[in-house]
Amino acid sequence: MFFICYSQTVYGYSALKMNSVGEGCTELKREYDQCFNRWFAEKFLKGDRSGDPCTEMFKKYQHCVQKAIKEKDIPIDGVEFMGPNKEKRDR
């Protein structure tokens, strides 16, 4: 079964991109990702602090995806950044 899944993805593989959890947000996500990937490789990693050109795109994308997250009841609230199970990790 794994083999069948693989050959299905091979056909259009180079054109495949991920979808957003919000069905209507995928285009906004892809536009933002493209902007971010370029900025990340060409500016951020090279120490260029001249600022993020993707903020407007990010805002539109976030507005869409946060709405979808609420509608689907995905439990992202109150989760501290890098936070869960701290006692487990500090050994």
């Binding site: 919000g22 947000c25 990937n37 990340f40 951020f44 997250i69 995905i74 950044f81 199970n85």
Partner: protein, 211 residues
Amino acid sequence: MVKYFACVGLLKSSWDQVCIAFWERYPNPYSNHVLTEDIIFRDVTPSNRLVSRRLLTKTNRAPRWMEKYLPVTMARHAYIIEDSIVDPQNRTMTTLTWNISHARMMSVEERCEYRINPDNTSWTEINREAWISSNLYGLSRAIQEFGLARFKTSVAKTMKGFEYVLAKMQGDTPSRTLTEQAAERARETALVAKEKAKGLASQAHKKHQYV
């Protein structure tokens, strides 16, 4: 009770390339179980570190032997959060990934440190740790064994996925036999884990009449 796992991985690409690939790793031939990907938080700190939160939806792949012990209403998709900090000055990236759904049944938390390989500065070393636990009465041991086995398979797929994406970025055509090898190894690992976990589960079921 918590199962702990640690390993070191090596990618023969620069730290910069690996970080770029990190954001472009989906989809790849080894990530068919990953359904959606979203950045749900991102910021650059005053110390110029990039902090991000990524939300993933994955298929909830409970094996058939386990399904008969689980509630019928259990969701088919699992939600996972991945937090990351990229520090371009120190050339390190730290990630923390954990599931925010099905956590009582099984909780998997993974912490990774990506840094320049000390023996070869054009390569990247990944220090990976994972904690796997289950709180499900009577089935914890079986689920933890299953979880650990599946995690090890996932690590292999993750590394293959990275290598695939990095090869594409650098203009190489990834070898198809790599894919076939990975598939074979994944099948073998899954089979061994399945038998072991099945045995544990039926022992537990005999002891406690749960569900």
